[in-house]
Symmetry: C2
Subunit: 230 residues, 2 copies
DNA sequence: CCAAAAGTGTTGCGGATACACCCATGG
DNA sequence: CCATGGGTGTATCCGCAACACTTTTGG
């Protein structure tokens, strides 16, 4: 029984111009020449997949810009790539909207709707988007998309872009503050050219993943409307 | 850069005697001789990991007994097993409480609390238990632990065993029926020797995984208290 | 008639949404 | 003083949990 190769792949997402984008590079060689592939590469002998994906990303984008990375799963269809059998461990990565890391010449931020993806990488991007959407609603994952400090309306635009549906600024603010996810910095942002009341500036209280709405039902007795369990 | 081996491992759980059990086999050879390992094995050249885990399980337990299988993730610490570098894809499997499949002589159902697990398999079992607990509260995953037909109090005992805390039969019934997860068969179960009102018999409406409590908050506008989106 | 087990009615709480209303700024 | 954008107050809805109460059986 032959050994298989193992690669790690990262769907690194960010929001720009009101839409989700994914980091990809254009293949210069066959197979799938001209199509766009996710960053990644072979798993090294002395690293686990988490270490490996961080190492590989460091070659494409400054690691300090990546706010969050998590495993999505294994993609292992024997025909997923031509040539040597290769199993992939896929990751979701998130870069804040205000970070604009330098990327290599063959690499670009592309809309999620693009179809000319290499191999099965379109499946991985779809899984990444679904994971992001799900976790935005029951964790503090917004911290990984947002700048350090922001106004509620700016945050609202990020949630709209990520979730793909309307979000009320009023309720977004209330939900996130009630859960202790957001806190005001005390500063005010100057109004735009059209005027208007200056917006309060907020930040996320944590910048690591936290589940804020643990399980909806069947909580242990006595935990009535308590929400998260730390 | 050397190729790595790839194995699949399954933490197959069921409930017996009011507690969760995991299927494991006792190693007869070094390394980790005498310790208990999860069923699994090498990934074949012509199969993906999902196919592989089902094939490997068929050798330990009748496949028709396994009601649900899903991927947990990749375990890839370079030192996780001695010898050739081996990456594992771990799965959660569930067997209904009334199925009692024949298992090989070296294989047994063991309590989750057992410590004499081989390699990093204890980590995998813990991940499986956590996944089960989480999904019980926002999906219909109970179908994979329960018999075809059951009373609410029998189902309650399963939930207690899986979740590890008290569950009210009253609220369990209401939550699951409101969500359309359970339906009465119309039959009644005879009371026990001590008497009592005969219990209504229920079944799960679906026997495949369905998310019933999609996202707690930030629903699309107009979806007020609608819960799941099909 | 009593104990035991199952099931229903009812109350209260709290999170989430929606919407009306008030606030602060630029022109 | 008006348009614009930001923020708060408040009503309503609804799921869930808790608990009292009724129903149906065996002894």
């Amino acid at each position: 029984m032959g050994a298989t190769d193992h690669e790690v792949l990262a769907a690194v997402l960010r929001i720009a111009d009101g839409a989700l984008q994914v980091l990809a590079w254009q293949r210069a060689l066959e197979p799938d020449r001209g199509r766009w592939a996710l960053p990644g590469g072979r798993l090294g002998a002395d690293e686990d997949v988490e270490t490996s994906v961080l190492r590989q990303l460091a070659e494409k984008v400054d690691l300090r810009e990546v706010a969050h990375v998590e495993q999505l799963g294994v993609f292992s269809d024997p025909a997923r790539v031509p040539g040597t059998r290769t199993v992939a461990t896929a990751f979701l990565g998130l870069v804040p909207t205000d970070a604009d890391p330098a990327v290599p010449a063959d690499t670009a931020w592309r809309p999620l709707s693009a179809r000319d993806t290499a191999f099965d990488h379109g499946l991985i991007v779809a899984a990444a988007r679904d994971r992001l959407r799900a976790k935005l609603s029951y964790t503090n994952l917004g911290f990984a998309m947002a700048p350090r400090e922001f106004t509620i309306s700016a945050l609202r635009e990020l949630y709209v872009a990520a979730l793909g549906h309307a979000v009320s600024a009023t309720n977004l603010q209330r939900v996130l503050t009630r859960r202790g996810v957001l806190e005001p910095t005390g500063a005010l942002a100057p109004p735009g050219p059209a005027g208007g009341r200056p917006a309060a500036v907020f930040r996320f209280t944590d910048r690591t993943l936290r589940v804020t709405d643990a399980f909806a039902v069947l909580k242990p007795p006595g935990e009535h409307g308590r929400g998260a369990v730390p």
